[in-house]
């Protein structure tokens, strides 16, 4: 049973226009224009409080944005619209299990949709997809589960719906490694078998890289569509009119071109950072930071390797090729030097 998924650029699954969302007087989301393609898997990356969950709630039409419009398949939609209600489902960050058995939790969505056939078989399948045994778990009560088991039951309750859009808010936050793999597989299968569009927020970059077509990076409510980038937060000191510096506690200094408007956070794109083994004599505009590699992960899609470099208490990310790794003899623990130009900075 293979479906033919057509991804037309003209009519994306989602189109967000001039979205702003406020809690009280605080703006937590500010998105000019964002399109999410049908059948794509989008990763959502960003620090705590950057607005991931808020964005997912908007995409689920569980909340109305304070300002702006959200089009789903070209149509402007609002919460509770019946045309979307049964198609889009969200796994919330703190999934709530109904005070019922696991079985009844999982079939809840089906019952709402008045589907009553083969419930047992479908539940068994959904549980299997998240690595739980039907015999062992179906009759348990909501409170008789460990944290990760509860999370996976909630995931099963979403998978059973075969949704058009599956929004996952930290689906593997308390899930073990093996189950994380299962959830990845289930997500990929959803796209393959049902053409599901997925948006997934997670702090586990390695896992996210292994599943997404592309990443959106979100910071303070602003979206960067290039995936994860290096963020350097203040405080900065003024060195002269045109430059700011950040002093690390171990004495190293980062020099950056000052922003034109007031801004407090610097973004240095990973593509602008190079890596070498030794310091070179350079001019003052080039930052040279020494640190060591803490991890090297495979980004499946591009077959490139993402390395995390610890520079005192900063953690910076660079892209490496297998070639480079062999040439420089890189491995986790190896000391390296990072280079980037002080004008290669964006401020927000």
């Amino acid at each position: 049973m293979t479906n033919n998924i057509q991804v037309t650029r003209k009519n994306p699954a989602y189109h967000l226009k001039d979205i702003q969302h406020y809690y009280g007087n605080t703006k937590v989301l500010d998105i000019d224009d964002l399109k999410i393609e049908k059948g794509s898997i989008t990763g959502l990356i960003g620090p705590n409080g950057s607005g991931k969950s808020t964005l997912l709630k908007l995409l689920a039409f569980a909340q109305k944005p304070t300002l702006g419009q959200i089009f789903y398949k070209g149509r402007l939609e609002l919460p509770f619209s019946s045309s979307i209600r049964s198609k889009i489902t969200l796994l919330t960050q703190k999934p709530y299990l109904l005070k019922r058995t696991v079985f009844e939790n999982i079939v809840y969505g089906l019952k709402i949709r008045k589907e009553k056939n083969n419930l047992e078989k479908r539940v068994a399948e959904a549980l299997l997809n998240v690595g739980l045994d039907y015999q062992d778990f179906a009759t348990r009560f909501w409170h008789e589960l460990s944290g990760g088991e509860a999370q996976r039951v909630a995931m099963a309750a979403r998978l059973i719906l075969k949704p058009e859009v599956l929004l996952l808010d930290e689906p593997i936050a308390s899930v073990d490694i093996e189950s994380a793999g299962l959830i990845r597989q289930a997500s990929l299968n959803a796209r393959k078998n049902w053409g599901t569009t997925l948006v997934i927020a997670s702090h586990d970059l390695q896992w996210l890289y292994s599943i997404c077509d592309h990443q959106l990076s979100i910071f303070k409510g602003n979206i960067f569509s290039t995936g994860v980038e290096n963020i350097i937060t203040g405080p900065f000191e003024k060195s002269d009119q045109k430059t700011l510096i950040k002093k690390l506690e171990d004495g190293q200094i980062i020099t950056l071109n000052a922003p034109s408007q007031t801004a407090s956070t610097a973004i240095i794109r990973k593509k602008n950072i190079c890596l070498a083994l030794e310091k070179q004599s350079g001019n003052g505009h080039i930052n040279q930071l020494s640190g060591h590699i803490t991890s090297m992960l495979l980004e499946k899609k591009s077959e490139t390797i993402v390395a995390a470099i610890s520079v005192h208490d900063l953690s910076l990310i660079v892209l490496l090729s297998p070639d480079q790794i062999n040439r420089l003899d890189l491995y986790p623990g190896k000391k390296v030097i990072l280079y980037f130009h002080s004008h290669d900075v964006e401020w927000i």
Partner: protein, 228 residues
């Protein structure tokens, strides 16, 4: 003190002997309290849901009014209902005065704020995540109401049981609207009031025990709904 002991014995006698006056009062009580509970739950649960679930302007004031309604004296409700359904009242045509239906209407007014207030409080305490979860699973408005109420079923049960206790024991409305007419609108509570006034304290105690027994049977059957 002895009249309490005498009351116990009398209670058993009354029930066993099948005393007609007692049994008609038992029936009247059951009918009227069942009717008013159905009405007040039917009206109170949705109202309580709305008041607990949604945020809207003036909600707090509404709550204060509702809480005040918890202190409507039964005689007051009785008088007000009487004013409407007495022959000279606007609804006099319906002939509800001195009927069990009339009492049930009054008792519904009595029970409604209890059901509504406790339901609202219980719904208010619902985890915010529940709402989000329901919406995210595709629940429509009706599903949300039904599921939320079911999630807090123990709270709802408490609301119902409290209201039931109130309805079962009230005298003012039954007396004023029902008229305490023997074999017709005499309920157990109005009978108790009467016997006590006669100085037949033991009979009052006996009838009180009969009422408590009804409540006990009802609660015993409800206890299967409780958390195990």
């Amino acid at each position: 003190m002895d009249f309490i002991v005498a009351g116990f014995i009398k209670a058993i006698e009354l029930l066993i002997s099948g005393d007609r006056a007692t049994w008609t009062a038992v029936w009247a009580t059951i009918k009227v309290s069942t009717g008013s509970m159905l009405l007040s739950l039917g009206a109170g649960l949705p109202c309580g849901f709305v008041l607990g679930y949604f945020d809207f302007k003036g909600k707090k004031h509404l709550r204060t009014i509702l809480d005040t309604m918890l202190a409507l004296p039964t005689v007051f409700i009785g008088l007000a209902v009487y004013a409407f359904i007495s022959r000279q009242g606007p609804l006099g045509e319906l002939g509800l005065l001195f009927t069990l239906t009339g009492i049930a209407i009054g008792q519904t007014i009595l029970a409604f704020p209890i059901v509504t207030a406790i339901t609202a409080t219980t719904i208010e305490n619902i985890d915010h995540d529940l709402k989000l979860t329901l919406v995210s699973l595709g629940a429509g408005r009706r599903n949300i109401i039904a599921t939320c109420l079911w999630e807090v079923r123990y709270g709802i049960l408490a609301a119902a049981v409290t209201a039931y206790g109130r309805v079962l024991t009230e005298v003012g409305i039954s007396m004023m609207v029902g008229g305490n007419i023997k074999y017709h609108t005499r309920t157990i509570t109005t009978a108790i009031a009467l016997e006590t006034n006669k100085g037949l304290f033991a009979d009052g105690i006996a009838l009180g025990l009969v009422l408590i027994m009804i409540a006990f049977i009802v609660n015993l059957s409800l206890s299967f709904l409780r958390k195990q």
